[in-house]
């Protein structure tokens, strides 16, 4: 316990001594305490710091401090080519990394006027991957929320099913996370042989995992006691605070850009926009849970389309844009196919020049600006790109849904109890990699 002259008294908890501090406070008849939660706290979802002013058990004021994971991704992108941006974008919200790539690549394609020239097969695979990423993100959200409420089984269910998705991602992209699979103009590579069959094999067990989850929590009185009527944020408040994604849908507004402003061919799929009318934490989980099933419906449609589709290109047919790569798995892991390297290095001068131009210099994008919004797992993910006509972005700005939604912490927590702070935070589902960028 320390006292700083002229300032409020400061207590330092060293672990296991909360009881002593509480007793000391009671002895001094001190009612209002300011508590730092984070930045290193397992239930603040990464390095988020909450500064809570408590009156006994009641939260009087919530302040959010962030920036602990700020890595300057937007600035770094200004020094890399348009194609390299995908590798950086994927590292923002690392729980749904495919979606960040999608937003970035669609924005580059809009700015460069390529949107209508993306091959059909690439579009379908993109939708497949985005929906898998949505399911994966929601599973992490539901699972970790369950864990934070003391239900470790919920976490194991969530992470078990997510593991299947990550395995599929690894099979297709070579990496579990931070895939950089979407590229301006299409995809890094086609699905490997057998990938769709593997996905069809695990599909029923994934749906069963979702049933397990629902059966365990949605009618569970303990779960409901912690979530029903907690962290209410009605539609007017959501609009004022710019809240999107499952949070605004739980407040009753079917705002889903996949339906409203379709991109990547979402208009060709049959799915529903899930909403709830409770505007509370329970409603948000209900929306996510239902949304996963709708995503599974879309995934099944994608698999069906791909199986009926002839093999075809997954990259735009434009040698000035398409990244010259052909990956395959060799004895030492995934890399450029030996035949592809041989063509560039020893047989075709044109291939060499093209590789040199595209990889060393990159393609140019006409000057101007574009804004592309997509329905990310967490809400509206907007990418604002400015080009000066060069081979690198002049400015990239990302309107990150987690960053925006986290603004609602004070509205959700003030006046509630401290035990609900973690519940409210988990219902926003922020990922600090995306928040801080």
């Amino acid at each position: 316990m320390t006292r700083v002259d002229g300032a409020a008294e400061e207590f330092v908890a060293l672990g296991g001594d909360w009881e002593d501090i509480a007793q000391e406070l009671a002895r001094r008849k001190e009612e209002r305490v300011v508590v730092n939660m984070g930045p290193q706290h397992p239930s603040t979802h990464g390095v988020l710091r909450l500064i809570l002013e408590l009156d006994g058990e009641t939260v009087r004021e919530t302040r959010v401090a962030l920036g602990y994971l700020h890595t300057g991704i937007e600035k770094t992108m200004e020094y890399r080519t348009w194609a390299q941006g995908s590798v950086l974008a994927t590292r923002m919200d690392y729980v749904a990394s495919i979606m960040n790539e999608a937003g970035y690549c669609l924005a580059v394609e809009k700015l460069a006027g390529l949107t209508d020239r993306i091959p059909e097969r690439a579009q379908v695979i993109r939708v497949l991957m985005m929906e898998l990423a949505r399911v994966s993100s929601h599973l992490v959200c539901l699972g970790s929320a369950g864990n934070e409420l003391g239900g470790t089984t919920l976490m194991t269910i969530g992470f078990r099913e997510r593991e299947q998705i990550l395995r599929f991602f690894e099979m297709v992209t070579g990496q579990r996370m931070n895939n950089a699979y979407f590229r301006p103009g299409g995809l890094a590579q086609d699905l490997p042989p057998g990938a769709l069959d593997w996905l069809k094999g695990v599909y029923p067990s994934m749906v069963r995992g979702m049933d397990d989850f629902d059966n365990m929590v949605m009618a569970n009185p303990l779960w409901k006691a912690r979530t029903v009527g907690i962290g209410v944020l009605n539609l007017a408040a959501c609009m004022a605070l710019g809240i999107t994604g499952p949070m605004v849908r739980a407040a009753g507004l079917p705002l889903d850009l996949r339906k409203d402003q379709p991109y990547s061919g979402y208009e060709n799929y049959d799915f529903e926009v899930c909403t709830a009318d409770t505007a509370d934490v329970y409603g948000r989980y209900l929306v996510r849970s239902n949304e996963m099933r709708e995503s599974m419906k879309i995934i099944a449609q994608c698999v069906d389309k791909l199986e009926r589709m002839d093999a075809g290109p997954v990259m735009i047919d434009d040698p000035a844009i398409a990244w010259p790569a052909k990956l395959e798995v060799g004895p030492d892991g995934q890399g450029q196919a030996p035949g592809h390297v041989r063509e560039i290095m020893s047989t075709s001068m044109e291939s060499l020049i093209r590789h040199f131009k595209l990889v060393g210099e990159g393609f140019r994008v006409p000057a101007g600006q574009a804004f592309q919004a997509i329905e990310h797992a967490k809400g509206i993910f907007g990418v604002h790109l400015v080009s000066d006509g060069g081979t690198r972005p002049y400015r990239v700005h990302v309107r990150e849904p987690s960053y925006n939604n986290l603004q609602s912490m004070a509205a959700l927590c003030n006046g509630g109890t401290i035990s609900d702070v973690v519940v409210c935070l988990a219902s926003i589902d922020p990922v600090m990699g995306g928040v801080d960028r």
Partner: protein, 238 residues
């Protein structure tokens, strides 16, 4: 009131098309080669940083109606000069707004029943060091939930010497953190913001990292005796 009823007077409130793109900066050469030793030809390259110029009517789609309804509101409020330029590029509508009139324009866009841009998607800063007197741009994206989720863009410019732009927090509370971020990264001061402090950088940080004159930072990468400078000090094509 229909679009046709207002279009006559509306034309007076928004400027007509003003020619081609505005050149902000002319860049010469590449790879740092100059003078008679340049056998590559790179030294003769010229690059332009451009901002699209005003677009002629009709803008196409719903863009005309939105501009007309806004113009009607602005004329009624005596703000005929509020919109400096209307640009339609890549199917997107951009209104360049005089910076003092930004709150009035945003309020009309939010409240007019024919516009109803209720959802703000934040603000993005852009730094054009060569655009004298208009170095710092703030770019806003607004979405209308009522009218088909359409999105428009507002762009406001301020000089570096006087980097003040009115805050929109009162109209769109969601702007709070977005304006703090843009202040943090670009040093744009949003007047009347309730708590304009740094948000991502530490509070005692000096400088605004996403300005063009702020270095990216980094160290040389060394590999087998060769040394590569950080990304912002390498030779580059753009």
């Amino acid at each position: 009131m229909s679009v046709e009823d207002v279009s006559g007077q509306a034309l007076a409130a928004v400027p007509a098309a003003a020619g081609g793109p505005e050149v902000v900066e002319v860049r010469r050469g590449a790879f740092g080669v100059t003078g008679s030793g340049d056998t590559s030809g790179f030294g003769g390259l010229t690059g332009l940083t451009q901002i699209p110029g005003g677009s002629p009517r009709p803008y196409g789609g719903w863009h005309d109606a939105v501009v007309d309804f806004l113009a009607e509101d602005l004329l009624g409020a005596g703000l005929a000069e509020a919109v400096e330029k209307v640009v339609v590029d890549r199917g997107e509508l951009t209104l360049f707004v005089r910076r003092g009139d930004l709150p009035a324009v945003a309020r009309f866009l939010r409240d007019d029943q024919d516009l109803r841009f209720e959802l703000s998607l934040g603000v993005s800063g852009v730094h054009y060091p060569a655009d004298a007197g208009r170095e710092l741009h703030a770019v806003y994206h607004l979405m209308s939930v009522t009218h088909g989720r359409r999105i428009i863009r507002l762009e406001v410019a301020a000089p570096e010497a006087d980097p003040h732009i009115p805050s929109l927090v009162e109209i769109y509370p969601t702007q709070d953190w977005h304006e703090r971020e843009t202040y943090d990264m670009f040093g744009i001061v949003f007047d009347n913001h309730p708590d304009l402090t740094r948000i991502l950088m530490p509070t005692d940080w000096v400088g605004h990292p996403q300005r063009k004159d702020y270095p990216l930072g980094g160290v040389d990468v060394q590999f087998k005796g060769a040394s590569t400078p950080p990304a912002d000090q390498r030779r580059s094509y753009s």
